[in-house]
C-alpha cells in the first residue's frame, strides 16, 4: 500500500503525536476522513474502488479505535518510541499493587456470589477513579517527564485495571440476565 496508507495514526489524523489529545479534534478528523473513504461512497463504482475503500475505511477505524482509548493510545505512543509494552510482560509489578489486585478480585467474587449488583456498581465507580489516576500518571510520564519506562509500567497496571473492569461488567451482566 501507499505511503499515505502506512503513515502513523497521528499523521493520518493530522494531530500532534503524544498521549494527551483533544477528543473533539480526533473525532472531527475521523469523521472527515471516513466521509472521504467510506465504502458507502463507492458502492456504485468498480470493484477496485470498493476494495481500496474498504481497506482505507478499515485502517481509519483501527486508527481511531487505537487513539480513542487511553490504554491502546499509550501502548501505541510507546511503540512509536520503541517501547513494546506487550513483550515486556508483567515483570516487576510492585508487590503492593499485586496485593491490591488480589483484594479487588476477592471483593468482586464476593459481590458476585452474594448477587449484589449495587456493590458491584460501587466497585466499578471506585475502579474508574483509580483508572483515571493511572491515566494521569501515563500522561505525565509520556508528555512531560518523557520517562517511557515508567509509562510502560503504568500501562501494565492499567491493563490489570481494565481486565478487572471487564470482569465486574461481566458479573453485573450475568446477574442481570
Amino acid at each position: 500500500m501507499s505511503t499515505e496508507f502506512n503513515q502513523d495514526f497521528f499523521t493520518l489524523f493530522g494531530i500532534a503525536p503524544g498521549f494527551h489529545l483533544d477528543p473533539l479534534a480526533l473525532e472531527t478528523a475521523y469523521h472527515d476522513l471516513q466521509t472521504r473513504v467510506h465504502p458507502d461512497r463507492f458502492a456504485h463504482l468498480s470493484d477496485a474502488d470498493k476494495r481500496v475503500s474498504m481497506q482505507w475505511a478499515t485502517r481509519i477505524n483501527e486508527a481511531y479505535r487505537t487513539l480513542k482509548n487511553p490504554l491502546s493510545r499509550a501502548q501505541y505512543v510507546l511503540l512509536l518510541k520503541g517501547v513494546d509494552t506487550a513483550t515486556e510482560s508483567n515483570t516487576a509489578m510492585p508487590p503492593a499493587f499485586l496485593m491490591e489486585q488480589m483484594e479487588w478480585r476477592e471483593a468482586v467474587q464476593e459481590a458476585r456470589a452474594g448477587e449484589d449488583v449495587d456493590e458491584l456498581d460501587k466497585l466499578l465507580a471506585r475502579l474508574r477513579h483509580q483508572h483515571a489516576g493511572v491515566v494521569g500518571e501515563i500522561e505525565r510520564d509520556i508528555d512531560r517527564t518523557r520517562d517511557y519506562h515508567a509509562a510502560a509500567a503504568a500501562v501494565r497496571r492499567l491493563m490489570f485495571l481494565e481486565k478487572l473492569q471487564h470482569d465486574i461488567l461481566d458479573a453485573i451482566e450475568s446477574l442481570e440476565t
Partner: protein, 622 residues
C-alpha cells in the same frame, strides 16, 4: 479564471442521470419497497394502493406461487404450503427455531439451514424469501419504469453472519444487485434523523414480527454513529400472538387442534392482539373443523399479564446496549419506536418508564425502515447530491472468534466494533511436525464454543513440519460494511495461505445458489447464457463510466504509459461489451478491475491528503 466543479466520488457527475434504486424492508410479517422520488422517500404501493406486502408465500400444486395478500387466505386452508414468518428460519437450524411443534410445516430433518417440504419440492428459507423479494422487485420496476441499479436490503441489527448471508443470497436469487445490507434500526434513524434535523443521542427500539433490536446512536453534524446495538433475533410480535394462542387453547378447553385449526386460531389471536391496542376487551369467536365453537373474550389486563415477561425480555438487551455505549437512560434525547409490535400500549409504557420519557411515536412504525433504506439506496447508487453529505458508521452486533483447545472461544473481533474492521490473531501448532490446522469460526459472547453460533469451519494445509509451537499461523478476520465476515489464514514463516469466505454452517454453498439460479422458474424461460452476458454488459458499462469519470478528474495521477494501458483496456471492454462472448467479457472485467487498482489507490491517497490539508469537500478548487 473559471472554477471547475470537482465531483467527489459518490456524487453524481451528471445530474440528469438518475439511477433507479430501492430500499427493501424484508420483514417477518410484512415487507415493503421504497424509493426516493423527486428528493422525497416514498413507499411504492401495489396496484390496489397498498404499501405492505404480507410476507406469506403460497406454493400451489399446479406450480404457481402466490405471494402476499393473495397467499393470505391460504394460511388456514393449506398451512403446509403457505409459509409465513420465513425470516425466522433464515440462517437457522431446525433446533434453533422456537415453537416448531405448533408449526404446520413439513420440516426436512437435515444438517444446516432448515428446509421445508412443499407441494413444489423442498424449499430453503432463502428461496422462499427470494420469492417475496421478486414480487417487490417487479412492483418497483413497473412503478419506476426500468431496471433497478441496486437495492438496499434491511436486516435486524442483531442478525448474525449466517442470517445476513442468507438475506444477501435471497436477494441474489431474486436478481437484485445488493448495494448494502442495512441494519433496520439504523435505517429508521436515518429516516427520522434527516427528517427532523436531530442531533444528540437517540435510542431506536425496534420490535418487529419476529425480531427485536435496540440501537443507541449519536447523531452529530451529519454523522450517524451507532454506539452500540443489542437485541434478540428470535423475539417479536409473533411471540405475543403465540402466548395469546396458548391462552385461547387453555381457556377454550378443546382437544389439540388440527394444523388448519391451529393456524386459524393463531390468526384470530393476532387479530385480537392488534385490537387490544385500541380496546380494553376483545371477543374471540371461532368455529373448528369438528363443528365445535369457541366463544371467549380477553381483556387488555389479561393480555398484559400473559405477555409481561416478553416485554421484560426487551429490557435486558436495552440495558446492555446502553452500558456498552457507556451511557445511562437520562443521556438519551429521544426514543424512536419502530416495528408494528411497538403499537402495544404496555410496550410503550415499559420503554417510557425505562427511559423516563415518552417514546416518539409520530412516525409510521411499519414504513420508517423501508424509507430509511430507500434514502441510503439512493445515495449508494450514486445519486448523491451536495446536501446528502451525511455519513453512516455502523457496528457489528456480536463478537466473532475462533475455537481454541478445550472448546473455548478466543474472541478476535468484539461486539459493537465499528465496521469495516479487520483483526489478526496468531496461533501455533501443538504437535511436532503438524502440517495442517483446522479452524472453527464462531459468533457470540459466551466463553464456551458450544454456547456460541457456529459460522464455518476451514482448514489450513501444507504447513512446513516444525517443532510444536514454532509455526506462526496468522488468522485475519475482515468484516465488511454489510457486516459480513471473511477469514484468511497464513503461516507466516512459509507464506502458505488458505483463504476462505465464510460459508456458514447454516448457509448455502455457492454451488447450491448456482443450482437454485438455474432451476428458478424465472430463468428457465430465459437463456442462462444470454442473461449472464447481459449482466456482464451492465457491469462493463458501470466500469467504463466509473473509469472515465475518474480519468476526467485525476488523469494527471497517471504516467503516460499507464494512461495508455487504461485507455487500451477501456477500448477492449467496449468492443467485448458490444459482442456476445460472455467468458471473454468477464475476463476483461476482472483484468480491468485489477489494472485500475493502483489508480484507485492513488486517487484515494489524494483524497486523504486533501483531508489532511484541512480542505473541506465544498472548498475544493483547482
Amino acid at each position: 479564471m473559471a472554477l471547475l466543479q470537482i465531483a467527489e466520488p459518490g456524487m453524481s457527475t451528471e445530474p440528469h442521470q438518475h439511477r433507479l434504486a430501492v430500499g427493501i424492508d424484508l420483514g417477518t410479517t410484512n415487507s415493503l419497497v421504497a424509493t426516493v422520488r423527486n428528493g422525497i422517500a416514498v413507499c411504492i404501493n401495489d396496484e390496489q394502493g397498498r404499501a405492505l406486502l404480507p410476507s406469506i408465500v403460497h406454493y400451489k400444486p399446479e406450480g404457481a406461487v402466490d405471494v402476499g395478500w393473495q397467499a393470505q387466505g391460504a394460511q388456514a386452508q393449506d398451512p403446509r404450503n403457505a409459509i409465513v414468518s420465513v425470516k425466522r428460519f433464515m440462517g437457522r437450524g431446525l433446533r434453533d427455531v422456537a415453537h416448531v411443534e405448533s408449526m404446520p410445516y413439513d420440516f426436512v430433518d437435515a444438517e444446516g439451514m432448515v428446509r421445508l417440504r412443499t407441494v413444489q419440492g423442498i424449499k430453503s428459507p432463502v428461496e422462499i424469501s427470494a420469492d417475496i423479494l421478486k414480487v417487490l422487485r417487479t412492483r418497483a420496476e413497473a412503478s419506476l419504469g426500468g431496471e433497478l441499479t441496486g437495492a438496499v436490503i434491511t436486516v435486524p441489527a442483531y442478525f448474525d453472519d449466517a442470517q445476513r448471508q442468507a438475506t444477501k443470497d435471497a436477494a441474489r436469487l431474486a436478481g437484485l444487485n445488493v448495494l448494502r445490507l442495512l441494519n433496520e434500526p439504523t435505517a429508521a434513524a436515518i429516516a427520522y434523523g434527516l427528517d427532523n434535523g436531530a442531533e444528540g443521542v437517540y435510542a431506536v427500539f425496534d420490535l418487529g414480527g419476529g425480531t427485536f433490536d435496540i440501537s443507541i446512536l449519536r447523531l452529530s453534524r451529519g454523522v450517524f454513529e451507532v454506539l452500540a446495538t443489542n437485541g434478540n433475533a428470535a423475539l417479536g410480535g409473533d411471540d405475543f400472538d403465540h402466548r395469546l394462542f396458548c391462552w385461547v387453547l387453555d381457556n377454550a378447553k378443546i382437544a389439540p387442534p388440527s394444523v388448519e385449526d391451529a393456524r386459524m386460531l393463531l390468526m384470530k389471536s393476532r387479530s385480537a392482539k392488534e385490537q387490544l391496542s385500541a380496546n380494553t376487551e376483545v371477543p374471540i369467536f371461532a368455529k373448528l373443523q369438528s363443528g365445535e365453537r369457541i366463544e371467549l373474550a380477553i381483556t387488555r389486563d389479561a393480555f398484559v399479564d400473559i405477555t409481561q415477561n416478553l416485554v421484560g425480555k426487551t429490557l435486558a438487551p436495552t440495558r446492555k446496549a446502553l452500558r456498552d455505549a457507556g451511557l445511562e437512560p437520562k443521556d438519551v434525547k429521544g426514543v424512536v419506536m419502530v416495528g408494528g409490535a411497538t403499537r402495544m400500549p404496555h410496550i410503550q409504557r415499559a420503554i417510557g418508564d425505562f427511559f423516563g420519557q415518552e417514546p416518539l411515536t409520530n412516525l409510521d412504525p411499519d414504513k420508517v425502515v423501508a424509507l430509511g433504506a430507500a434514502i441510503q439506496a439512493n445515495v449508494l447508487a450514486g445519486n448523491r447530491k451536495a446536501e446528502d453529505d451525511w455519513l453512516l458508521l455502523d457496528v457489528i452486533p456480536l463478537s466473532l472468534g475462533l475455537e481454541t483447545m478445550g472448546g473455548l472461544t478466543e474472541k478476535v473481533i468484539t461486539r459493537n466494533s465499528t465496521i469495516p474492521i479487520a483483526k489478526a490473531q496468531e496461533f501455533t501448532t501443538y504437535k511436532d511436525g503438524q502440517t495442517a490446522m483446522a479452524f472453527h469460526v464462531v459468533q457470540g459472547e459466551r466463553e464456551l464454543v458450544s454456547d456460541c453460533r457456529s459460522l464455518a469451519r476451514f482448514e489450513l494445509r501444507g504447513i512446513p513440519p516444525m517443532v510444536a509451537g514454532a509455526a506462526r499461523i496468522r488468522v485475519t478476520f475482515q468484516v465488511d460494511a454489510d457486516g459480513l465476515l471473511s477469514v484468511a489464514a497464513r503461516e507466516m514463516s512459509s507464506g502458505v495461505e488458505a483463504s476462505v469466505t465464510v460459508k456458514p454452517s447454516y448457509g448455502l454453498t455457492d454451488d447450491e445458489i448456482a443450482g437454485m439460479l438455474r432451476s428458478g422458474a424465472d430463468h428457465a424461460r430465459e437463456d442462462m447464457e444470454a442473461r449472464k452476458l447481459r449482466e456482464y454488459q451492465v457491469e462493463a458499462g458501470r466500469l467504463i463510466d466509473a473509469t472515465e469519470a475518474a480519468l476526467a478528474e485525476d488523469a494527471r495521477l497517471l504516467a503516460a504509459d499507464e494512461r495508455t494501458a487504461i485507455d487500451r483496456m477501456l477500448a477492449r471492454l467496449r468492443t467485448l461489451a458490444a459482442g456476445s462472448d460472455a467468458a471473454a467479457l468477464s475476463a476483461a472485467i476482472a483484468e480491468a478491475n485489477h489494472a485500475t487498482t493502483d489508480f484507485a489507490a492513488r486517487r484515494m491517497d489524494q483524497s486523504v491528503r486533501r483531508a489532511l490539508a484541512g480542505q473541506k469537500l465544498d472548498e475544493l478548487k483547482v
